[in-house]
């Protein structure tokens, strides 16, 4: 077995709601090998999205350890977390979260440009990625001019611009119709090989869950490997 690219030990995450404390992750352990597709399933409110946000350093956790591509997230300060987000992870949200005032090409290129790529290189790489997701002809269109599926594909291209070793996708087909979901499923399945990355996918979609090399069920704050 290869060394895991993601390794969580004894992970605890709670939310307080008034006097009530919700144990979203309760001494949870999780591990994933490089280059794999991992799907995480679970009922609504089970903490799947929170776990993904923890892996992407968007959310802090209460205790335990999270090691992602060699970064010990519990030890990182705010500035280092920004570097981590820039270099290690690419995020795809359920809602596309594209910048409305920027074209598809600019949306994809921006994280690269902000990460220090020369402008011409960032735009060139963004064009290649739009090609990869089949949207080269829509490069100069704005999010408002794209369909839901197209926006998600742009979001995937954006997640790949800095060549992250890990892509985290949180229910990317959640807002899409059946046809768009199918297109996206096919794209996500090709992703680890095409972009040489590891994909962690949170989904409700049982069809989408089948693309994973491995699947986990998050229930009661613990992960259960189901495939």
């Amino acid at each position: 077995m290869n060394e895991p690219i993601i390794e969580c030990r004894d992970l605890i995450k709670t939310f307080s709601s008034g006097a009530e404390v919700l144990h979203i992750l309760d001494h949870a352990d999780f591990s994933l090998e490089k280059g794999k597709i991992c799907t995480i399933l679970g009922p609504s409110g089970s903490g799947k999205s929170t776990f993904l946000a923890i892996l992407g350093s968007l959310e802090r956790f209460d205790s335990g350890s999270v090691r992602v591509d060699g970064y010990e997230l519990q030890t990182l300060q705010e500035k280092s977390l920004s570097v981590f987000r820039r270099k290690v992870v690419g995020f795809v949200f359920q809602f596309h979260f594209l910048l409305g005032d920027f074209s598809a090409l600019e949306n994809v290129a921006l994280p690269g440009y902000m990460a220090g790529l020369p402008r011409a290189d960032a735009w060139k790489r963004a064009t290649q990625l739009l090609d990869l997701v089949g949207l080269r002809n829509r490069a100069h269109h704005y999010p408002s001019q794209l369909s839901g599926g197209e926006r998600q594909r742009v979001a995937i291209a954006r997640a790949l611009i800095n060549e992250p070793p890990i892509v985290l996708a949180d229910e990317p087909t959640g807002n899409l119709d059946a046809a768009s979901s199918e297109e996206l499923r096919s794209l996500l399945q090709r992703l680890p090989e095409a972009a040489k990355t590891t994909l962690v996918l949170v989904t409700h979609d049982s069809e989408l869950a089948t693309i994973g090399d491995t699947s986990f069920l998050l229930k009661g704050g613990h992960f259960e490997c189901i495939r």
Binding site: K79, R86, Y113, M114
Partner: protein, 449 residues
Amino acid sequence: MHQIKARNLKPLFFLGLRFLFGKPVQNPKAPAHRVRHSAFWGAVLGISVSIVPLYIVLFVSNGMIQGITDRYLETKTGHLQLALPFTLTGETREKLQRDIAGLEGVASASFEVDGIGLAASSRGSTSAQVRGLDQSIVADEGFKKFIQTDGGTIYPEKQNEAVLGRYLARALGVGVGDTVTLITLRDAHEGQMLPRLSIFRVAGIVSSGYRELDANWFIVRSEAALRLLNPSTAYAFIGIKTVDPYGAGLNALASGITDQLSQSGFSGVQGFSLRTWRDIERSLFASFSSTKSVLILIMAIAIIVAAVNLASALTTYVIEHRTEIAILRSFGVSSQQTASIFLLGGAATGTLGCIAGSAVGIFISFYINQILSGIQAAINFVSRLLAPASHPITLLNPDYYLEHIPISINWDYIILIVGVGIAVSALVSLVPAIKSSRIAPAELIRHEQ
């Protein structure tokens, strides 16, 4: 530690400008989409508009003050003034005059004796400032440069001739060739004074372009003034013109003249005193300077108001675009970079405003005389249409202002105004910039829920 390096400023500028100003032109490949944020163009306009009057006030007041100062120096006070005892003999005075004129840095030295009198004509009488000028004034380039003649000569050729200031001539209702009577005082027995009446023919009517200075001039030859004016009320002096009246060398030259007086044996003699032009009209120049300072202060407040408008637009933008900022944070833009985007955006807004305002302000200042003439002509035209009997108005009353404003563009002021404008814009952008840096990427998750 991650530091923002100069080469990393480009993407921050790119984002700042795009966030705040949108896309400058319609995208030809996506013609239905247009991105513009009018609030920031409004902020640019606000800063521009606030800067324009500052330039106009600065350049006009500077030009006005410089023009008035030049006129005082060249036509009245001289650059240095050596007060003389009234009783000094002509021979001694002329020797002193020659000695001073021969000093390095001195351009000319002219004798003058001033006093007051009452000028009268068949139309009426008014007070007159009698100036007894030396013939050498005719050769003085500075005097000739600023003295305009409405007729006749600028210097009386004969003892019984006088040159009048334009407004004195108007008040007396006289022209060139007419006669006027000058009433001065002469000593009588036992300390009594009696009026002395002298008749003069008007040889010329002149103006310096600044009424406050020349309104009551009654110019006669110095010999006539010495004869007519009462020694107890008259003031005799040598007006000295230097090659650089505004330079730091003026005081050194004054010291040189004092030494010359000492060598000539006049040191400590009562009645001699030397003053620079700054001392002679100290209160006048102090008044100009304080008026200018107050005007600049008022104009500076307008810039601060415009900057507050920019801060408000930026703060509103940050509040309304939390999600977009959280998106940036989610792909690794640090809080420091986020703050820099808005700081640079604010500074860019200020820069655009300052550049536009400077261009308009300098243009208006440069053509202020033509613009004022145009406005004056337009107002008078409309007034005549509405009320044919109305008197034409004059925007710049020549009683207090020069009839033509001399404008000179001062690059130090331009650099100062633009620099302060940009700095103030960046400063007021600090609060919204810090606010933006506190937006966490986790807000995206809340947004989804």
